[in-house]
């Protein structure tokens, strides 16, 4: 809304007057028409307006960024959208946790071998892994406030979409506009 009375991208697309208190204007400048076009295509302008109105002003910029990200994901993958990326990442986390459990079991074994006094009591790697599994239920990797293991119960059994730009810069540094 820097340039006086020129309408923001939303009002340009919707062909309406861009009021001084236009809810879209701070987030959809006229020099980036694609940004609003894609959000309008996936969510619809009135839904975006509703969502923004229900949020305090200081949270609206992040909300717009994430909506733009989701809209782009949905356009790139009309079937799975963001769910494809979530499915892929969940698989990665499970895979890494498994590798971690194996590595932790192995290092326990090795450390015990370095202590001859406890060599007699060395559990086998299988026992160590079971012990680790019990412990892992309490450690930070599995207990995140999102309880990620419960995200996907039925959707996208084969995550056939791998999103290539999942870096933090892409997520929040600048908006993804295709």
């Amino acid at each position: 809304m820097g340039s006086g009375n020129s309408p923001c991208a939303s009002c340009k697309l919707l062909r309406r007057r861009c009021a001084k208190d236009c809810i879209f204007a701070p987030y959809f400048p006229s020099d980036d028409p694609q940004k609003f076009a894609i959000v309008h295509k996936v969510f619809g302008a009135s839904n975006v307006s509703k969502m923004l109105q229900e949020l305090p002003i200081h949270q609206r910029a992040d909300a717009v960024s994430s909506l733009v990200y989701e809209a782009n994901a949905r356009v790139r993958d009309p079937v799975y959208g963001c769910v494809g990326a979530i499915s892929y990442l969940q698989n990665q986390v499970s895979e890494l946790q498994m590798q971690l459990a194996v590595a932790q079991a192995e290092i326990l074994c090795i450390q015990m071998q370095h202590e001859p006094s406890v060599a007699a009591a060395i559990p086998n790697p299988q026992q160590i892994m079971e012990f680790q599994e019990q412990n892992n239920n309490n450690n930070e990797l599995t207990h995140h406030h999102h309880h990620h293991h419960q995200y996907l119960n039925f959707a996208a059994s084969s995550s056939n979409v791998i999103h290539d730009s999942l870096s933090r810069e892409t997520l929040f540094g600048h908006d993804m506009v295709s």
């Binding site: 996936v42 969510f43 949020l55």
Partner: protein, 146 residues
């Protein structure tokens, strides 16, 4: 059954035609599912999106739209992007943890090799393979410790 309408047509208070695009994926017994996608995407938008997808993929698409709508309702600021962000962070943390432990395993194996190679005369030398030695031999891996 008096009314065979799907959840979408019930919600929109209209007749549910036999070729209704919503009815296979938004059954009447799960009104929540359509209510969520209607709130975030709008009913006609969902219908339009589904129509652009081959029939055999529509169920997956409807379910994915429902999940994203649900996550957006739960977290109105970040929606599913918040979940992606936290999962990505978990992946990074797990990779770092794994690299640390694998470096430790390599260190211990190196120690063992030195002991085994020359068991008699080189026992004293094996004890001099310290973490400092290991770190100078493997600067890239051990930089993760710091």
């Amino acid at each position: 059954m008096i009314s065979g309408r799907c959840a979408a047509c019930k919600n929109q208070r209209r007749k549910c035609p036999s070729d209704c695009i919503f009815s296979p994926y938004f059954p009447a017994n799960d009104p929540q599912k359509f209510a969520c996608v209607h709130k975030i995407y709008g009913g006609s938008n969902v219908g339009r999106m589904l129509q652009g997808i081959p029939t055999y993929l529509r169920e997956q698409a409807a379910n994915a739209l429902y999940l994203e709508a649900k996550w957006r309702i739960d977290d109105p600021v970040y929606g599913s992007v918040g979940i992606i962000s936290s999962l990505y962070e978990q992946v990074q943390n797990a990779e770092i943890e794994l690299a640390k432990i694998q470096a430790q395993i390599a260190f211990y194996k190196l120690q063992t090799q030195h002991v085994e190679a020359e068991p008699n005369s080189e026992v004293l030398q094996s004890q001099s393979i310290t973490m400092e030695q290991f770190e100078s031999d493997n600067p890239t891996i051990t930089s993760w410790f710091n």
